[in-house]
């Protein structure tokens, strides 16, 4: 690049003090309550999974940077983005998933979805969601084994580590269906949803999260609180989250009102799967979402709507990850179509006319 660009004398001489690492740290803080809650619900295996997924992401990032000959690999690793990707991926996995899921997931997220595109800021698709979807379609069985929360008897530290590293499947006695998965199965059998969800074998929808699902799914309310924290500290803005929640809840509420036998209600949609995580932590990903407030609102609505469509009619019970990836692909188009209006110009970029009269003597 031009050497002029690297001289250090240009204004502004002051800086607001923000940094990439600080933003990432805020997001990690926001994830902490839901994560701790997950540890409590699912025990040591979930802790090992969380730890290894993060370590795998950081490790793959370090390796990729080294192979690419990055100028300042240590500084890049310290920005916290790889840790965050691993953390988010872990929250979407089954809490008792074996070790190799974490390692392969980290590889897909960091190497395939991020570094191949050119590293931080260059990737088109959200790395954690790419990894989640790739794992799901590649290894459907271990990726859909949901353990019931507060499993009894809870495995001890050593037992958990052996199970985690040995890759033993979750014993049938401990597994349980997720609400969305159960609804999908029942519907495909032609059952009436209202009755199927009322039956004794039906999974519960608990506001406090004591139900089967991915590591982060049960902590929906805690994730919501984390999202509010991010809004308060200004790391994210309201446009994308509100778009996702509205895009998911509105069609769900309408469809449920019309035909409760075939469509889940809005609360079930909002509290299940990755809805809250997706709204506040995935759809707000800086890199892969549009740059303008209007664009972010459109993006969020798209994610929510597509999620609902996939959940209602698609082949998978859960659609958030697919919806995010689809909308990631549309981000450049949204950015192109929804540019802000420049001061003194109309929407098409032509200079505005001055209102006549009044202004003159």
């Amino acid at each position: 690049m031009n050497p002029q660009l690297s001289s250090a004398t240009a204004a502004p001489h002051a800086h607001g003090g923000g940094s990439v690492a600080r933003a990432m740290l805020h997001v990690q803080l926001a994830l902490l309550p839901a994560t701790l809650h997950g540890f409590w619900l699912y025990g040591w295996p979930s802790f090992f999974l969380w730890l290894l997924t993060i370590l795998a992401c950081v490790g793959w990032e370090a390796l990729a940077l080294r192979l690419a000959g990055a100028p300042r690999p240590a500084a890049v690793l310290r920005d916290g983005s790889a840790v965050l990707t691993g953390w988010l991926l872990a929250l979407t996995l089954p809490p008792w998933a074996p070790w190799w899921v974490a390692v392969i997931g980290g590889f897909i997220a960091i190497v395939v979805a991020k570094q191949v595109f050119g590293g931080l800021g260059q990737n088109v698709f959200n790395p954690a969601m790419v990894a989640r979807v790739a794992l799901l379609v590649s290894f459907p069985l271990p990726l859909t084994q949901w353990v019931a929360p507060l499993a009894a008897p809870a495995p001890g530290f050593v037992d958990s580590l052996q199970r985690f590293l040995g890759g033993a499947p979750v014993p049938d006695a401990l597994t349980s269906a997720t609400l969305l998965g159960h609804a999908k199965t029942e519907l495909s059998r032609g059952a009436d949803l209202a009755q199927a969800l009322a039956g004794p074998a039906a999974p519960t929808l608990s506001w406090l999260g004591e139900r089967a699902g991915s590591f982060g799914e049960a902590g929906a309310l805690l994730l919501f609180a984390g999202g509010l924290y991010l809004l308060a500290v200004g790391v994210i803005r309201w446009h994308a989250p509100l778009g996702v929640l509205a895009g998911l809840a509105l069609p769900a509420a309408i469809a449920h009102a019309v035909d409760p036998a075939r469509y889940l209600d809005a609360a079930s949609h909002l509290l299940s799967g990755a809805a809250i995580l997706g709204a506040f932590f995935i759809a707000t990903d800086y890199v892969t979402s549009p740059a303008t407030p209007a664009g972010r609102l459109v993006f969020g609505v798209g994610v929510g709507l597509l999620s609902w469509i996939i959940r209602s009619w698609g082949g998978y019970p859960e659609g958030m990850a697919f919806a995010v990836l689809l909308m990631n692909g549309l981000t450049p188009v949204i950015d192109r179509l929804l540019r802000p209006r420049i001061l003194g110009r109309d929407r098409r970029g032509r200079p505005r006319d001055v209102p006549a009269g009044e202004l003159r003597r």
């Binding site: 690049m1 031009n2 002029q4 660009l5 001289s7 004398t9 240009a10 204004a11 502004p12 001489h13 002051a14 800086h15 607001g16 923000g18 940094s19 990439v20 600080r22 933003a23 300042r72 500084a75 920005d79 983005s81 590293g119 931080l120 800021g121 260059q122 309201w238 800086y286 890199v287 979402s289 740059a291 303008t292 407030p293 950015d335 540019r339 802000p340 209006r341 420049i342 001061l343 003194g344 110009r345 970029g349 200079p351 505005r352 006319d353 001055v354 209102p355 009044e358 202004l359 003159r360 003597r361």
Partner: protein
């Protein structure tokens, strides 16, 4: 920040940034008047437009206020002696600019008497014709004291021609660290209001709005009290938000009028003048005094006694700093020397640069006050989009410039960028966005110049070609004519000689 501002921020009307307010304690310290230094260095160009033309000889004695250099061209301003003394040289001085280039300047040795020359003031400015006021303001060398240094008389005349309805007075002073306008409004509110009334008379504006940021309650109170007897002058409080002092932003905030992108404020029926300019206009008209001194803020973590100092133009920054108590620890902690504010001011190579008409501050910043982190990759957080007061996409323009697609950057509004620095201020990756944009603007301007030059050259070449062809044709025609004439003469001669045809 009020509830309404918070709500506006939440729902999108939130251009600009809120830099740390470092105006106090300097703003609260009483103004100190600096004595005249032994030697003054006066660059011939202290304003936008053509440099002034010297009208004094070396060795000539001058009185305070006497003309040293005359305005040259339509947009220019004259220069006057800040004190009585002798013209020591017409030489060069380091420009108060990052380049550190030499500027042609008149150097005056003070005689210590500080004696005024003849002054012709006016006891009743409102009896003067607006044209006459414009002429006197121009002759006094008054330029915009907010920093841009545009010749004030040109603006007043333009306003009178365009028939503007509104005169805006800029007392917002949005740059952190600077407080010279704040101090002026507190100490000389009556004089400023008098100057405003004279400017209103000269520009023909109907109403006057004075915009002052809400972080200056003392200035707001003083100005409101001074303006109370004059119903045509309204003092308005505006939210403290950088760059409120930028003309188009202030106009929009106070009047709701959006100046067209290709126009000037006068096109939208508004002109904007700074409060310091109003005071200078008053001095020029009432007392006949030219602009020879100004108030500047001396501030920054390395300054021993921050405050505002009344300084003669041409005083070296080094001497101003020494007068203000020098630097803490002999300047060991100094990280950056600036003239102007930290958002749009310029870094200077050393302190031996003169105070000029547009100098609003001299800042000595410590390491913890300057942006120093290395540049990282853009993470598309769009903080820059939110901060941009003009509605641009800085991240997108920077991406295009990085790929050398300068025309593509121009297509999304590069020319509308006002270089306020909000984008770079908020960028978490510390990308020097303003530098990108300045570079691209400079490059595009250079290309445009080269294109025009190429066109001119091509046109000249074509004209030369046509001329050569025409000359060749004429030559050939002349030769043919001569040949024919010769043949005719010979034939005639032969006929005369009785030869058979």
């Amino acid at each position: 920040m009020g509830i309404l501002t918070s709500l506006k921020d939440w729902f999108g009307n939130d251009w600009g940034v809120h830099p740390d307010d470092r105006k106090r304690p300097a703003a609260d310290a009483p103004v100190r008047v600096m004595p005249v230094p032994a030697r003054l260095y006066l660059p011939l160009q202290q304003h936008l437009g053509a440099p002034a033309r010297p009208v004094v000889r070396v060795g000539q004695r001058v009185k305070k206020g006497e003309l040293l250099a005359a305005a040259q061209g339509a947009v220019s301003a004259p220069l006057h002696a800040p004190t009585s003394g002798t013209v020591a040289a017409v030489g060069e001085v380091t420009a108060p600019h990052p380049s550190g280039l030499a500027l042609p300047a008149i150097i005056v040795d003070a005689d210590g008497a500080d004696e005024w020359g003849a002054l012709a003031g006016s006891t009743d400015p409102f009896a003067l014709a607006p044209d006459e006021i414009g002429r006197r303001v121009a002759a006094a060398g008054v330029v915009g004291l907010g920093g841009a240094a545009f010749p004030s008389a040109v603006k007043l005349a333009g306003a009178a021609r365009a028939g503007v309805a509104t005169l805006l007075i800029n007392g917002s002073e949005c740059e952190p660290y600077l407080s010279c306008d704040d101090r002026l409004m507190r100490d000389a509110a009556a004089g400023i209001v008098d100057g405003i009334r004279i400017m209103r008379h000269a520009s023909g504006a109907r109403r006057v709005l004075v915009g002052i940021e809400d972080n200056k309650p003392e200035a707001l109170a003083a100005m409101a009290a001074a303006a109370a007897p004059f119903p045509e002058i309204a003092v308005r409080r505006v939210p403290a938000r950088y760059p409120m002092g930028s003309e188009k932003q202030l106009i929009q905030t106070l009047t709701g009028i959006e100046v067209p992108a290709d126009g000037r404020p006068a096109d939208a029926g508004v002109i904007v003048h700074n409060v310091g300019t109003a005071l200078a206009v008053r001095a020029a008209i009432r007392d006949g005094k030219p602009l020879i001194s100004r108030l500047i803020t001396v501030n920054g973590g390395c300054v021993a006694a921050p405050g505002n100092v009344e300084v003669r133009l041409g005083t070296l920054a080094a001497e101003v700093l020494a007068f203000a108590g020098g630097l803490k620890g002999d300047g060991l902690g100094l990280a950056r020397r600036l003239v102007g504010g930290p958002m749009m001011g310029s870094e200077i190579p050393h302190w031996r640069v003169p105070v000029v008409k547009g100098t609003s501050g001299i800042l000595a910043l410590a390491a913890d006050e300057v942006a120093a982190a290395g540049e990282g990759p853009c993470i598309r957080c769009a903080a820059c989009v939110r901060a941009c007061p003009v509605g641009l996409l800085p991240l997108e323009m920077a991406a295009r410039i990085r790929n050398d697609a300068l025309d593509a950057a121009a297509a999304i509004g590069l020319a509308d960028c006002i270089s306020c620095g909000c984008c770079a201020y908020v960028c978490p990756s510390h990308i020097p966005l303003v530098q990108y944009f300045q570079h691209a603007k400079g490059e595009l301007a250079a290309r445009e110049r080269a294109r025009l030059r190429g066109e001119a050259t091509r046109k000249l070449a074509t004209q030369r070609q046509q001329r050569l062809e025409r000359e060749a044709r004429e030559k050939a025609a002349a030769a043919a004519r001569r040949k024919a004439e010769r043949a005719a003469q010979q034939a005639a001669a032969r006929a005369d000689a009785g030869e058979p045809a």
